[in-house]
């Protein structure tokens, strides 16, 4: 182990818990387990590099600025902290009838100390109360409304299930998560938000111009049977005030897809993980890629990892927690056969299955004046009407449409715009994505379009993060042909949209178009995971892999060992010291950005292990 690749207490040799992954799940669990009321010795393994110098410096010294910067090339082109598509590719196919093709980026997430959330614009809405009992609520609704058809809801391969706990049971951990990470927002602004016990820690920051235009547009559009839409400020773990020793956001604009240069984003490294590192009970080894859980079937004794010298190392602990994100956590199990040759932890036969991504639908248009999306936090407003629930989020809404009664559980809709990235937005689309005479490959046409920023200053629109059905056939397994740089089989992703979410998408698209028209858009178009019509026509025709960056399922949580992988405490049903505490445990995906729920669930699991109450 290179000596430089360690943070925290370097003297620790024996560990109670080893956590694999230092992001929203793992960093959060490390914080809870190393608190003064828990006193566990924790080893965190992180596969990626460390952009945060001085992260384990003592608290009386200010938190140093990281190696992140306003640098399109470093992040959007060269992938500074992204899982590298050359070193660790993935393969993708729509179903078992086709051979999976090498597709470097199949919903890849960043790998670095602090995990993927640092790369996001840190949007943190909560799930709705009804999301945690969706299966029961929907079945009751179907029973009470003869003729109500929810396409494919109860047919294989759809595999809906209730969560093993309620919203009310998770709510204290949502409150703790918002305090810990520093969330801005305004209670009551979103009428669909479920009950909250505490106000937001900070008020919303400055709104973006195009978002105000879209909010005005939304107020002029009616949801059939339910009146005008309800735009709201978007909760985000981004400081709008000084919060602890982190400064307020300056709205630099390079937010979604970029690390934060001034630590105003409440990403795991500078919040939960830092507290763990300052406890004296946590050691973090980075550039340490876990490759196998050494096990005797029902018990894990060690984890093997490759360090930055290329050597295979081994770490032991009493218990292990998987927090490498849903795809990588499942892959590590698949790379760790039991002595009898079975997949570790797979009594249910569902390990790696029920993979969910959200079905993103983007409807975009052009605003005649410049949207200046390069100024701001990427997304400051949205609407939650398309989640398809009643106000307070306790019940599913019924719509009366042409064909009779129906439900339409979509998701939160973000108001967005081009971020003004000349290389990867305008340049890429003019020169490469638009075919032949439709584009501008080179010369003065390219220069004129760039100078106008015909896209970069004029494109704006809405993206719905719609719930996708959990399906056993949507899954991660090991690719038979391709290897990663360490010589291990890469993840093969099989994923196909279900009629459930495709029907909902069609239901809301016309309403999304109306919002754009009301906001003054000239022309509009639709894109999404199945139709990359807007920005990626070339990939659309080739069946490109999903890039929603919302990854859930694969190690489903539930009470029954026959139908789930981990129990309600996050412990594997059939491995006595192995937990999961990332998005892999989600039984369903809801229709909201998942990270705050990942954090809340990790808090609940970790507090459960050491029997401590949430600290609000």
């Amino acid at each position: 182990m290179p000596r430089d690749d360690i943070l925290g207490n370097r003297a620790l040799r024996h560990f109670d818990v080893c956590i694999i992954g230092s992001g929203a799940g793992g960093g959060t669990a490390a914080y809870v387990l190393t608190r003064d009321d828990a006193r566990q010795k924790v080893l965190v393994l992180e596969a990626g590099p460390n952009p945060f110098r001085g992260l384990d410096r003592q608290p009386h010294q200010p938190l140093p600025f990281p190696l992140h910067g306003n640098d399109e090339l470093k992040y959007a082109v060269r992938g500074y902290i992204q899982q590298d598509p050359f070193l660790e590719p993935r393969t993708f196919r729509i179903d078992d009838t086709s051979e999976a093709a090498l597709a470097g980026d199949v919903n890849s997430l960043p790998k670095a100390v602090g995990g993927a959330f640092q790369h996001a614009d840190c949007k943190t809405p909560r799930f709705n109360a009804v999301d945690f009992r969706l299966k029961t609520a929907m079945d009751a609704l179907i029973a009470a409304n003869p003729g109500l058809l929810v396409k494919g809801f109860n047919d294989e391969p759809a595999n809906f299930a209730d969560w093993p706990f309620t919203y009310d049971e998770l709510e204290p951990f949502y409150a703790e998560a918002e305090m810990l990470y520093g969330v801005q927002g305004k209670a009551g602004d979103n009428v669909f938000e479920s009950r909250r016990s505490v106000p937001y820690p900070m008020p919303p920051g400055v709104p973006m111009y195009f978002a105000l235009r879209l909010a005005d547009g939304a107020r002029g559009v009616t949801l059939p049977g339910y009146g005008p839409l309800n735009p709201h400020t978007y909760p985000a773990a981004i400081n709008s005030r000084f919060y602890g020793d982190r400064p307020p956001c300056v709205d630099c604009g390079l937010c979604s897809g970029f690390g934060c240069p001034n630590n105003s984003k409440g990403s795991p490294a500078v919040t939960a993980l830092r507290r763990a590192l300052l406890s004296g009970r946590c050691q973090l080894r980075f550039n340490a890629t876990a490759v196998r859980l050494v096990n005797e079937g029902g018990h894990v004794s060690a984890v093997e990892y490759v360090d930055d010298t290329g050597r295979r190392q081994r770490a032991t602990a009493s218990a292990f927690m998987l927090a490498a994100s849903a795809i990588e956590s499942a892959r590590l199990c698949l790379l760790s056969p039991t002595p009898s040759g079975a997949v570790l932890g797979n009594t249910s036969g569902q390990l790696g299955q029920n993979l969910m991504f959200h079905l993103q639908t983007t409807v975009s248009g052009f605003l005649p004046e410049r949207v200046h999306g390069e100024r701001g936090r990427a997304v400051t407003h949205g609407i939650s009407d398309f989640r398809g629930v009643a106000p307070d989020g306790e019940e599913i809404r019924l719509f009366t449409a042409a064909g009779g009664k129906r439900v339409a559980l979509g998701g939160i809709c973000e108001f967005g715009a081009s971020q003004g990235l000349p290389i990867t937005e305008d340049g890429d689309i003019y020169a490469f994505q638009l075919p032949g005479p439709l584009g501008a490959r080179m010369g003065l046409p390219l220069k004129n379009a760039l100078r106008d920023q015909a896209l970069g200053q004029h494109l704006f629109g809405l993206t719905m993060q719609a719930e996708d059905a959990p399906q056993r056939t949507n899954r991660v397994d090991l690719d038979p042909r391709y290897r990663d740089v360490h010589g291990f089989p890469v993840s093969r992703i099989t994923y196909k949209s279900h009629a459930y979410e495709l029907a909902t998408r069609k239901f809301y698209i016309p309403i999304m178009k109306q919002i754009l028209q009301q906001a003054g858009a000239k022309g509009f178009s639709v894109s999404g995971e199945t139709v990359y019509a807007f920005v990626r026509p070339r990939e659309a025709l080739l069946g490109a892999a999903p890039t929603s960056r919302h990854i859930m399922g694969t190690l489903r949580m539930g009470a029954e060992r026959t139908s789930s992988v981990v129990n309600p405490a996050g412990l594997f049903h059939d491995v006595d010291n192995l937990y999961a505490c990332d998005g892999s445990v989600f039984p369903t995906a809801s229709g909201y950005n998942p990270t705050l729920t990942i954090i809340a669930v990790a808090l609940k699991i970790a507090h459960g292990i050491v029997r401590t109450p949430p600290a609000v």
Binding site: F65, L67, G69, N70, D71, L73, K74, V77, R78, Y80, D84, F86, L87, V206, M208, R241, P248, C249, V250, D251, G253, N287, D308, E369, R370, H372, G376, G420, P422, I423, G427, D428, I429, Y430, A431, F432, L434, P435, G439, R441, M442, L444, P445, K447, A449, R451, D452, Q453, A454, L455, H458, R481, V485, G487, K506, S525, V526, V531, A533, F534
Partner: protein, 320 residues
Amino acid sequence: MAPEPTPPVPREVPALLLGRREFLKGLGAVLAALASPFTRLRQVYAAARGRFFTAHEFATLEALCDRILPADGDPGARELGAATYIEALLTAFDQPVPLIFAGGPFSNRNPFPDNATGTPSNKRPRDAFRHFIRLTRWQRLRWRAEIFGSDHVAGAAFNDVAAGGPLPGLRQMYREGLRAVDGAARTMTGAPYAGLSSDQQDAILATLDRSVFKPDARRGMSFVDVLIQHTLEGCFSLPEYGGNRGALGWALLRLEGDDQPLGYSIYSAAKDGYNERPDHPMSTPNPDELAGPRALSPDGERIQQSIMTLATALSKVFGE
């Protein structure tokens, strides 16, 4: 801008990263330099480091980049230093810390905010972007494969068979691509590419694009694709990467480029709220468009129209 004179030898003298042929040529340069006084040796070292192209190749490359993004009233790719950027990438490993990922958090182009008053302060950070980030073992392997080819870097060929061939190195792509362009120019006109009129250069580039130059299996990009991509990068990335000279690429687009640590909204403790910058507002329209939108060029209009046409057609295909 004319390229610096290039010595007729390869570049990095401790040439462990280079192929055998280049290593031998490098060795020749060292032996030649040893005959000179010590100061001369240092000059050879300094001049050799960071150069990959011969003077002629560099002139051809500059001419090509300038056809991708030509000069008009605003600077083109030649003036913006795109070719210098490309050479910096190809010689990234000549430096003790390879020039792949610029450092953070700030350049010195913008001041810190003054959060007491909510105005820009007079204090500026030091330029940390200049201090590139040390690569991990795997990042090093990955970027060496990009530049030298996956079959020329130990440990990088792990998917070459499954993927149907090695990842061609950028050095090889440029060397062969420039030779092909110049060869075509000489065949067609009898003169080297760099010496032709811009119309002739355009015609030759258009002829070769997608006929002679095909996308490779691994990167999915032809030589011209790579050239366009790198020209865009060289014109609009941080100046610390070697291009975007004087940040004039951003000026061309009327973007500020990197804007930390000031940003666009400045928190004021005095009012417990934010001030926006009047010249670069966040929540209101740009000041120059209060009376109405600024018109696009015909090319900008055409691009927007293309996108709408294409998107509408595809939406119909998918019934949306």
